[in-house]
């Protein structure tokens, strides 16, 4: 342990509650309320990581989510490990274990540090330039590049935590609970708006809440005391919901925002079980108030990245909020008044400030005076030109700036220190505003981008709107809110504000050095090790667009998304290129604002809730009878029913044979079913199907083919005429929803004059198909009252019936080519009817079969499956289904496309059958079909779409599509495989019972 740097008890830290944690294997102590960063600083630890490219030692630099350096891996080698956690955000808890990233073997001795000395040969774009040639070497380079790429290690075990999503709808969302946000939330809620206030920190009040200076007063109270009272009041307001530890990740159009609410990350591990770790809030707010504050800018000079160099405001927060001194000999370097607040605070706590270096020449304010009165040396018109100290800053060297700020003059002065605070002024946090599509404008006087135009109902207030001082905030915020919320009066008007802050600032993007730029390392992006030198190189090499420079130099592409350095990058580019900042634009800020875990994004959509499943009414029976299942769309369908350790092939062969020899039974409940009613129902069917429907008699069924307007096959199925104006249409399982959508589209938009109503009844019915030569005998036992004679109940007809007292519909239709019946009954009776069919069919060896056998049986008959034997390029003519296309009908969907120049070509891909030379050889579905293997390049004629071994024909059969295939019956073709060629003969696609004898057997 090093010396304790706790300087003063703070009310935000509970010193009675001691917490132990480990960092890089060593145990340290902190208090409840500490972040990992504040607890480490209290123990004198600054060096926490190594930079990405040069492996330079890096220390804690900020006290917030903008931290580029202090990113750690938590709980390495456990299921809860997480990389890239900002030490400045994670609150310590008993048992916390954190380790540095991007260093080996340790943060104190890192082999990769050699890159720092190699840096002259590692310029911007090094990887792009070096590993491009020769192209064939890429695979070798890749191995080494991958090894050194990336920050941190991703977890390899399943995440033990639970994540949740929640939708929130509110009238007003206030992002940020600093002084502006608190005023906004209170104003909105008091005026009856349902309000949500969120802040990424664990406490409310932003940076004002730990202000303790006589220089900033509201109504004659110190600003923090005034704000504390306001916070206590808003906690009591009923229509105001407050969420802390919640950060907005994304601000989309239409005021839709995503925020991560952190619920357990601050708790000891043993208190987290079965609790939701993080919740993704999906917020819809009528109005959004951005009160996201501002980020302090660093200053860009040679070696501005050493451990011990922090933002001046961070040093202020560590001392005021956490009661921690970042150093014992502090130097501050600034271009504005902010650093003087820090100097005064440190001085009051007895922390030594050696000097303040101010690049402004002629400047005076109450704050500066007070610093000078405390015998702290102020160097006006000076700049830091270099720093020294490898793992911790030891010394700064400063020189006088020329009047134009572009050069340095005079001689060097050295000042010893162990901590350097830098302040380059403030940048409004406009990230969320721009994510939502908002446009920025550039304010010349202090060189900041502030919100301008937005496309949703939102407003930016306080320092994210460019009002940085207390008096500016308190005079502008109430006015803006009154207008935005359309209210008459605000409690916050006419406050008496006292602020000593002087707004003057001297902005120099890249501070001059006594060395040539090539010899310096002024870091702009700390995390990705991009320096001002790299940006200038990119411009010399011809890059002009800010987006290109960003990608070439990787500036702003780390996990911190360039929160600190982006403005400087822009400034350096505009200065070097001689363009104006306002015209250059900015890079695009993309979500998430701070990194999100995958768990939060995914929420509960994992494991069994990863995807939706649908089950048929007979599902449980299939499970009880050992079925294997296949996913068809969202449905779980019985695939096959293995018996006595059968494999899939054996089961399917047995089921297929049984269905043709005796009886088979299939659960067809997944087929889409649409109830069609209305006086124009027949006319409607005429228009949507290729064949004619007007003459279909009541009680009869017909197969229909539906096309898209482009003439390609879209769906198929059997439709039954139940009554004069009443039909029931079946669709494919996968097409059910889209077919209904398409039909509604035509009814509502093209043919609103038709009197037709469509209602989905897919889930209302269980559909049980019993097929095979014995099917009639079985159905006659299941429904004894039904006349099954061919005369009364022929193929392609239907009857209303009852099983016990339950009404049902029975269709005599077939997808297997066998004599078969389809029972449609209300779903809740489906399982019972299925069981009765099994019981009644026992003596005929009724065999349940799944989708695989169904596919085999229909392939024997050459029946197509839409989506398997067709894609969106097959017309009915291509499928050799000319018979189903009505020549008489004037119009139907897709008719005109059937004689476009392309669709009437002779050599289109057409559906054919394929027989292998060796009857035992089964083709692979998807295999390519060629005629001449020696031609170069080999011409692909088509591919295999369906392929099975048929136990009924005792040979291999296949369907395929082949260019000009219709006229190739009998021709020999070749299927080239990886290690062989298979000879096939083109055949008629109907392999079995072409005369349809079995249908009436």
């Amino acid at each position: 342990m090093t010396n304790n740097l706790r300087v003063k008890s703070s009310k935000f830290i509970d010193e009675t509650y001691k917490i132990s944690f480990k960092f890089n294997g060593t145990t340290y102590y902190g208090y409840k309320g500490d972040t990992l960063a504040s607890a480490l600083l209290a123990s004198g630890i600054h060096l926490v990581g190594r930079s990405f490219k040069y492996h330079r030692p890096r220390g804690i630099m900020t006290a917030g989510s903008e931290e580029p350096n202090a990113i750690v891996q938590l709980h390495i080698n456990t299921s809860r490990t997480e990389p890239n956690v900002r030490a400045t955000e994670i609150e310590i808890y008993e048992g916390l274990e954190a380790s540095s990233q991007n260093c080996w073997p340790s943060v104190n001795f890192d082999i990769g540090g050699i890159n720092n000395f190699l840096s002259p040969i590692l310029p911007a774009g090094f990887y792009y330039k070096t590993f491009m040639w020769p192209a064939s070497f890429w695979e070798k380079y890749e191995y080494f590049i991958r090894k050194s790429a990336g920050l941190g290690r991703s977890p390899i075990e399943p995440d033990p935590d639970i994540y949740e999503h929640r939708y929130i709808h509110c009238d007003v969302l206030v992002i940020g609970a600093g002084i502006s946000g608190i005023i906004a939330a209170k104003t909105a809620a008091k005026n009856g708006f349902k309000t949500l206030l969120i802040d990424e920190k664990s406490y409310l009040g932003g940076s004002t809440i730990y202000q303790n200076s006589e220089h900033f007063k509201i109504n004659n109270q110190i600003s923090s005391s005034w704000l504390e009272k306001e916070i206590n009041e808003i906690k009591k307001i009923k229509n105001l919901e407050i969420k802390t530890r919640t950060s907005v990740a994304a601000f989309h159009g239409y005021n839709f925002l995503l925020a991560r609410e952190n619920l357990t990350d601050h708790l000891p591990l043993n208190q987290r079980n079965n609790k939701i770790r993080q919740r993704l809030l999906k917020i819809r707010s009528k109005k959004v108030i951005n009160a996201t504050g501002s980020l302090e800018r660093p200053l860009i000079f040679d070696n501005n990245d050493r451990p011990g160099i922090l933002l001046s405001s961070a040093i202020d927060k560590y001392s005021n909020f956490y009661g921690v001194a970042c150093g014992e000999k502090n130097v501050l370097f600034t271009n504005n008044d902010s650093a003087y607040e820090t100097a005064i605070n440190l001085n009051q706590k007895g922390i030594k400030v050696e000097a303040v270096i101010d690049n402004r020449e002629e400047v005076d304010s109450k704050l500066i005076k007070e610093v000078e009165n405390n015998n702290i040396r102020v160097y006006k018109g000076y700049t830091v030109v270099n720093t020294s100290g490898y793992k911790r800053i030891k010394k700064v060297s400063i020189m006088k700036l020329s009047l134009d700020g572009q050069k340095i003059i005079g001689s060097k002065i050295y000042i010893n220190c162990d901590c350097l605070g830098i302040s380059g002024g403030w940048t409004p946090a406009v990230h969320l505003f721009t994510q939502s599509g908002g446009k920025l404008k550039f304010r010349e006087e202090d060189q900041v981008f502030i919100p301008n135009k937005s496309f949703s109902d939102q407003i930016s207030i306080g320092s994210c709107n460019g009002d940085f001082t207390l008096d500016e905030i308190l005079s502008s915020v109430p006015k803006i809110l009154k207008e935005f919320l359309n209210i008459k009066k605000s409690d916050f008007e006419n406050l008496e504000v006292h602020s000593s802050f002087n707004k003057s600032k001297r902005n120099i993007w890249l501070l001059p050095s006594d060395k040539v730029i090539g010899k310096t390392k002024p870091f702009v992006d700390y995390q990705n090790d991009a320096t001002a030198k790299d940006i200038k190189l990119a411009l010399r090499e011809g890059f002009r667009s800010i987006e290109h420079v960003k990608r070439y130099t990787t500036t702003g592409m780390g996990t911190d998304q360039g929160k600190l350095g982006n403005m400087h990058a822009l400034g350096i580019i505009s200065e070097t290129a001689g363009s104006k900042m306002g015209e250059l634009g900015t890079t695009t800020f993309r979500p998430p604002y701070t990194p999100l875990t995958f768990g939060t994004i995914v929420g509960r959509n994992v494991g069994k809730y990863f995807d939706i499943f649908r089950k048929t009414p007979i599902h449980d029976w299939h499970v009880e009878n050992n079925a294997e299942f296949e996913n068809v769309g969202q449905w779980k369908r019985a695939w096959y029913y293995p018996k006595n350790q059968e494999n899939m092939h054996d089961a399917v062969q047995r089921e297929s044979k049984a269905a043709r020899d005796g009886a088979g039974i299939l659960d067809a409940s997944t087929l889409g079913k649409i109830d069609i009613q209305g006086t124009d129902a027949s006319e409607f069917l005429n228009r949507v199907y290729t064949n004619a429907w007007s003459k279909l008699a009541i009680g009869k069924c017909r197969y229909g083919l539906m096309l898209n307007e482009d003439g390609m096959v879209y769906d198929d199925g059997v439709t039954t005429r139940l009554d004069e104006n009443h039909y029931i249409m079946t669709t494919t399982t996968g097409g059910a929803a889209t077919v209904l959508g398409k039909l509604e589209d035509y009814l509502q938009t093209e043919w609103p004059e038709l009197d037709v109503y469509l209602t989905s009844v897919t889930d209302h019915y269980a559909t049980i198909s019993v097929c095979g030569p014995d099917s009639k005998k079985i159905i006659s036992k299941v429904i004894p009252d039904l006349d099954l004679s061919n005369k009364s109940f022929p193929h392609m007809s239907f009857k209303n019936s009852k099983i016990d007292k339950i009404k049902c519909r029975v269709m005599r239709i077939s997808f297997t080519g066998e004599h078969s019946y389809e029972i449609n009954i209300q779903a809740n009776y489906g399982k019972s009817v299925w069981q009765r069919c099994m019981e009644m069919g026992k003596e005929f060896n009724i065999t349940p079969y799944g989708t695989e056998t169904m596919h085999l049986l229909r392939a024997e008959k050459g029946f197509i499956i839409v989506g398997q034997d067709t894609d969106a390029t097959m017309t009915p003519i291509d499928l050799q289904m000319d018979w189903i296309v009505s020549k008489k009908k004037y119009d139907f969907i897709g008719k005109r496309s059937l004689y476009r120049s392309d669709t009437i070509k002779e050599n289109r891909k057409q559906l054919i059958g394929l027989l292998t030379e060796n009857p035992d050889e089964v083709l692979e579905e998807g295999a390519q079909i060629v005629a001449d293997i020696n031609k170069s390049p080999v011409e692909m004629l088509g591919h295999v779409t369906s392929s099975y071994y048929s136990p009924n024909l005792k040979k291999s059969i296949a369907l395929g599509v082949v260019r000009g295939g219709k006229s190739m019956i009998g021709q020999k073709l070749i299927i080239p495989m990886e290690n062989k060629q298979i000879n096939v003969t083109v055949a008629d696609p109907v392999f079995l019972d072409k005369e349809n004898k079995r249908l009436n057997a």
């Binding site: 159009g253 239409y254 599509g437 307007e709 959508g741 509502q748 008719k895 005109r896 476009r900 120049s901």
Partner: protein, 91 residues
């Protein structure tokens, strides 16, 4: 994600809707009378505007009704929502 003001059900989240492409493309009454080029114009040719675009949307997870939307494709702001069969508004 947009909020879309369904002309029948009121304002709902985009996830309840499905987009259906450009609006006001009327299916020719007599397709057989058209040349290949004329039919192709109806079938394939679509505008892709930066600015106000008239589109069809269906409230697929709600009332299942189609309607038209005038949306500015440059910022996704929906200017007007109107029913099928109504004329496109002038914007």
């Amino acid at each position: 994600m947009f909020l879309i003001d369904c002309p029948y059900c009121g304002e709902r989240e985009q996830s309840e809707f499905k987009a259906g492409g450009e609006a006001h493309i009327v299916r020719p009454k007599q397709p057989t009378e058209l040349s290949d080029d004329e039919w192709a114009e109806y079938l394939f040719m679509r505008k892709n505007i930066k600015g106000i675009q008239f589109e069809r949307w269906i409230h697929i997870h709600g009332c299942r009704k189609w309607f038209n939307v005038a949306r500015d494709t440059s910022n996704d702001v929906i200017k007007v929502v109107y029913k099928m069969g109504e004329k496109p508004p002038t914007i």
